[in-house]
């Protein structure tokens, strides 16, 4: 391992420590601001609950437009942009701005969460650290996702979720070097955060058990409804955000305030929509809400978050997404309990599964969504309903909304970031898609050059495989056969002049990328059976690759 790679791993730990510290400070700042601005009651009094989010919205807008223009939105795309566009650069000013404006927004009751800002704060700190230590360009690029994982892990108390999310949604590939750094940063940030705030989980998760196999149908229904709700949320953002952005610039100053006012009015009846809402998720998990309230909270939170997010208020979507799913899951359970009380499990399980469902449907990170619930609940047996529900929600969301939310936001902002979902879903072309039947293009090494030249003249190819001894193959072109014939060597066996193709040969399932690397060595490559290496199943030349139609 090179010295810089070793240093990169050590720096990852340091990034985790600083990200953990910043997330602790961020959480404390949000809580202090909430106490100062809204008071200690969970149901703030009338003038406060209406005025505070609105007036703070004005301050946030002024800060965002005037001082910190890069802090709008959640922070996930900004981290991706740092990786793919700006060589890992995130200004320290953005870190400060994100911290201040997001804390103000969430603390004043805007319906947003602290996780995505924590992710960007972590990425920004890592970027600043990397620049200070003068890391190479490659490491600088990857340092932002490392910091992002650290920030997210500390905010979520969940290192596995953070690592998976960053790999799944930001980096997009599993590379040993980066993975090691991401894991180290995530773990050290969670340890740091727990050092100060303890190891209490975000929610007090009740025990789960499947009451009856038929309950899985209810979870499937939850997936279906969750997919629909996710779709509605993404569509609302997709439609409203660009429209609000197109309004004259002076209106940008009052948009967060209007969102705050609307949320304040909603909070008069449903104070649970204020802020991230983890306490309310905990309440739902412990059966403290009836189904009408659960359903109402699902809808009002969806609308409140749409208002906050589309007006450019800095803050994250993770917590609201989980909130919406939790309330939906609880409502589905409560309704099922009325209809089939004997086969309905504990509501806490539905709340948990609901959280994963909307996470999969809205944020479209299916693997993260499954492992997040397992990690948060500490219960492996919940994985079955989670997988069923999340998969259905994900498929419903994908079916009717082709572009994932973060990709959509990037495109609305005019940034062409790689879509991890599209890359995941892209059809991988294999050797078998391009190889051709070898029969007309194979020659025998024992036959003379003249005889093989006659055979080659009948085939529509420039390159031929020549069978040598015991499964070995050589390659020769029509032009080479002709040249040997012209030199008077036509009676010699072809094996005397042919160049053997170096092993390993290709297999039908291998990727086109790998095949192209092999084709750099030789113009034509035999494709053999994996179980019977002597059995030729095809041949591949560069022309075959060029003729291959692109995947849909």
């Amino acid at each position: 391992m090179k010295r810089e790679e070793q240093l990169f791993l050590v720096i990852a730990i340091l990034i985790g420590v600083y990200a953990g510290l910043s997330v602790v400070a961020f959480r404390v700042a949000i809580e202090w601001l909430r106490l100062v601005l809204l008071g200690s009651s969970l149901s703030p009094s009338f003038p406060r609950v209406v005025l505070v989010p609105a007036l703070t919205g004005l301050v946030i807008a002024a800060l965002t437009i005037g001082l910190f223009p890069a802090v709008r939105g959640s922070g996930v795309n900004q981290t991706k942009a740092a990786l793919y566009i700006y060589d890992g650069y995130i200004s320290f000013r953005t870190v400060v701005g994100k911290f201040v404006t997001s804390a103000l927004a969430i603390g004043s009751g805007q319906s947003l969460g602290p996780e995505d800002p924590s992710l960007q704060i972590g990425a920004g700190l890592a970027s600043a650290l990397g620049r200070r230590l003068k890391l190479s360009r490659t490491h600088l690029r990857y340092i932002a996702p490392v910091g992002a994982a650290a920030g997210l892990a500390a905010a979520f108390h969940s290192p596995i979720t953070a690592v998976l999310f960053v790999i799944e949604e930001v980096i997009g590939r599993w590379s040993a070097g980066v993975l090691g750094a991401v894991v180290l940063a995530a773990v050290s940030s969670v340890v740091t955060e727990q050092w100060f705030l303890g190891d209490q989980p975000l929610f007090r998760v009740p025990t789960y058990h499947l009451v009856h196999p038929s309950e899985l149908l209810a979870y499937a229904a939850l997936g279906l409804i969750g997919g629909g709700v996710s779709l509605a949320f993404v569509k609302l953002i997709a439609v409203l955000r660009p429209r609000l952005r197109q309004l004259p610039v002076p209106t940008w100053y009052i948009q967060p305030a209007i969102a705050g006012l609307l949320i304040g009015l909603v909070a008069l009846r449903f104070p649970q929509v204020l802020g991230a809402g983890y306490d309310s998720i905990d309440q739902a998990m412990h059966d403290q809400y009836g189904w009408r309230l659960l359903a109402a909270l699902c809808v009002t939170k969806l609308l409140a978050t749409t208002a906050s997010f589309t007006t450019g208020t800095p803050g994250g979507l993770f917590a609201p997404t989980l909130f919406i799913g939790a309330m939906l899951g609880g409502a589905v359970c409560a309704v099922e309990r009325l209809m089939a009380p004997g086969v309905t499990g504990p509501i806490g399980a539905y709340v948990l599964v609901g959280m994963g469902t909307t996470f999969a449907g809205i944020l479209r990170a299916p693997i993260t969504s499954v492992f997040m619930i397992v990690e948060v609940s500490g219960n492996y047996s919940i994985i079955l309903p989670v997988m069923i529900s999340n998969t259905i929600a994900y498929l419903v969301s994908r079916r009717f909304q082709h572009v994932a939310l973060f990709d959509l936001l990037a495109r609305q902002d005019g940034t062409d970031l790689p879509s991890m979902e599209e890359e995941r879903e892209a059809e991988v072309r294999a050797v078998e898609d391009a190889m051709r039947d070898p029969q007309p293009f194979t020659l025998r090494g024992d036959d003379s050059i003249d005889r093989n030249l006659d055979r080659a003249s009948l085939a529509a190819s420039e390159h031929f495989l020549v069978a040598l001894s015991a499964g070995a193959w050589g390659a020769i072109s029509r032009w080479e056969l002709q040249a040997h014939h012209d030199q008077g060597r036509g009676s010699e066996p072809t094996s005397a002049v042919v160049v053997p193709v170096a092993k390993p040969y290709l297999y039908p399932d291998q990727s086109m990328e790998f095949a192209l690397r092999v084709l750099r060595r030789t113009p034509v490559v035999p494709v053999v059976h994996r179980a019977k290496p002597d059995h030729l199943v095809g041949m591949l030349a560069l022309d075959d690759v060029m003729r291959l139609k692109p995947a849909d």
């Binding site: 340091l14 510290l21 200690s40 009651s41 009740p206 403290q288 809400y289």
Partner: protein, 287 residues
Amino acid sequence: MLVGTVPAFAITQIVVNRYRAERQRLALEWSARGQRDLASRPADAVTDFVTAMSYGSDRPTDRLLLARALVASERPAEAKAQLLGLAAEDMANGDVNLELARIAAAGGDVDEAVRYYHAAADGVWAVDAPAARREARIELARFLMSHGQQTKGQAELIGALQLDARETLDIAERVLTLDPYVERLGPRARGQRVRRALAIARARFDRCHDAWAADETVASRLDELRTRLEALEKQRPETFERSVAAVDEGLAVAFDIEKLPPGACGADSSDDRAVAAIASQHATPPR
């Protein structure tokens, strides 16, 4: 950069300590507010306890009080969920099991109520465990009898008295000699038993009256009982043999006096316990 972590940790620690202290203060403040609101404004008490818990107060006391506030706010399902969470952490908790029993009893689920009552009676209690267990068992006996399960109720009642076998036998014998509900009794014998019950009740009443005379709220109740008792004492003995109304009233007064809360009345005699046992078994006078 490494050196910078030391002051960063120190500053963060200071901030977090203040943050924790503030949260703890708020948790206690909201918990105290909840306890104040519990009796008069249970709906507000629910919000108070939820707020206290949101500031990190995961104290079982607050959660139990929240459950009580939920019951008082007529939200039994939510109260039950809260209590089940507590029970999952501390299955033997007497308070929790008793509250669960009451919710089940109010919901008409006899089996579940009995199960939780038993768990409460055998459970762990933080304060005055013997008295709490006895109360739980008496409540169970009352519940069983109100659901027509006399024998089981009787058994629970004997258990509730927490007496040794000799004392239990003594009370059982007294019940046999005092019980006016025995079907084979003639009018005369029944009248005698009613008058005997009234005499036992009079002795207890005098003790209670001396102790509670200063309490205005109880005093009016005692006055009313005294008036009724004195009216009965003026009756001729034959009245209790001939008049069903006199028997009804005689037993009602005797039972009401025996049901007066213990504690201020001094130690109950075996006769008192026997009459109380009879009273707990019979909601209505004999016909």
